[in-house]
Amino acid sequence: MSRPELQAPAEFYYGDTEAKKYTQNTRNQQIQASMTYRALELLNLPTSSPAFLLDIGCGSGLSGEILDDEGYIWTGLDIAPSMLEVALEREVDGDLFLQDIGQGLGFRPGSFDGAISISVLQWLLTAPTSHHTSSPPFRLKKFFTSLHSALKNPSRAVLQFYPSDDDQIQLVTGIARQAGFGGGVVVDYPNSNKARKVFLCLFVGGGMSGGPSSDSQQV
C-alpha cells in the first residue's frame, strides 16, 4: 500500500473511521509510545522543573497521554478534526487546537520549554493545492520560523518523521537551519528497513548542553 500522506491530506485521510482505527490499533499504539519516549529522551529536559510542551500533530492523543503521565503541561495541534475528537473522548489533559502547521503557529515568542512531533512532518512534504502558499518549501518555512519563535532560548524540538529519501531530509534540515535552528538528524536502527526511525533534533540557542548519549548514526 502506498504511504498515507500520498493518498490524501491528513484532515481527509484521517476521517472518523481511520482516526478510530489508527488509535485502537495496538501495534500503532506501541510504536507511537516508544517514539514518544525516545523523543522525550532526546528533548533532554531538566528533570528538576516541570515543563510546558507543544505536541505538533498531536492526533488522537497517543503521545499526549504519555505527556500527561510524565507530568508535563502541554498544548497539542492537529489538522484532523476526527483525530482531535478521539483525543477529547480519551480525556487527555492538554489543550487541543485545530491547526494547519504549514500555515505557521500563532504563539508569543519564548512560550514553550520544548516541542515534540511524532510522525507528522512527512505530511508537509506533499502539496495539497496549486496555490503558492501550499508548496512544501513555503509551508516548511512558515512552520519552522514560527516554531523557532515559539520556543524559549535555550530549548529543543524533536520531530520524528518518515522521509521518503535523503533529499527530503536535506530539504527539511536546510529550511530548519534557515529558520535559526541548530542541531541535526538522529537515525535509530539505521540498518533496518522496518525499525529505522528518523528524529530531527532541533536546538534553539545551543539547545542546552549535554544530552543522552546515542549510539545512533548522526547525519
Partner: protein, 123 residues
C-alpha cells in the same frame, strides 16, 4: 478545553498581522471549571512567561477577580493557588476569540479553537 495558560500565549497569525495581535478577545464564551493537580514548581517556572495584564483582564472576562493587578514579588501559597486556578482550571468550551488588530475570528467549538486560515490570510 482552552485553558487560560494557553490563551495567554496565543497571538493572531494572519498574514501581516504582527502588532497589537494579542491577547485575543473573548466573545460569547462558555466556561467550565475542572480541577487540576496543584503544582507550585510548575507555576514558578511559568510565571516569567506570563503577560500579566492580559491574564488579569482575561480572568475578569471569565468572572475571576482573584489575581492582583500587579504581579507580586512574594509568591505565597494563596497567590499560587489563585494563579493555579486561573491558569489551569478555567476552560473555555465555546465562544469566539477575536484578534484586536485584524478582527479575525477564531471560533471555539467543543473546547477546540479553529486556528485554520483561508489561503489569502496565509503568508
Amino acid at each position: 478545553m482552552v485553558r487560560l495558560i494557553t490563551h495567554n500565549i496565543l497571538a493572531c497569525h494572519v498574514k501581516g498581522c504582527t502588532s497589537n495581535n494579542f491577547p485575543l478577545q473573548l466573545q460569547g464564551v462558555q466556561i467550565e471549571l475542572r480541577e487540576a493537580e496543584f503544582n507550585p514548581e510548575f507555576l514558578k517556572t511559568f510565571l516569567p512567561k506570563i503577560e500579566w495584564k492580559a491574564l488579569v483582564d482575561t480572568a475578569k472576562e471569565a468572572r475571576d477577580t482573584s489575581l492582583p493587578l500587579e504581579q507580586p514579588e512574594m509568591l505565597d501559597d494563596e497567590f499560587l493557588k489563585n494563579l493555579h486556578h486561573v491558569l489551569l482550571e478555567i476552560h473555555i468550551e465555546e465562544g469566539t476569540m477575536i484578534c484586536p488588530n485584524c478582527k479575525h475570528n477564531y471560533p471555539i467549538s467543543n473546547g477546540i479553537p479553529n486556528m485554520l486560515l483561508a489561503e489569502h490570510e496565509v503568508g
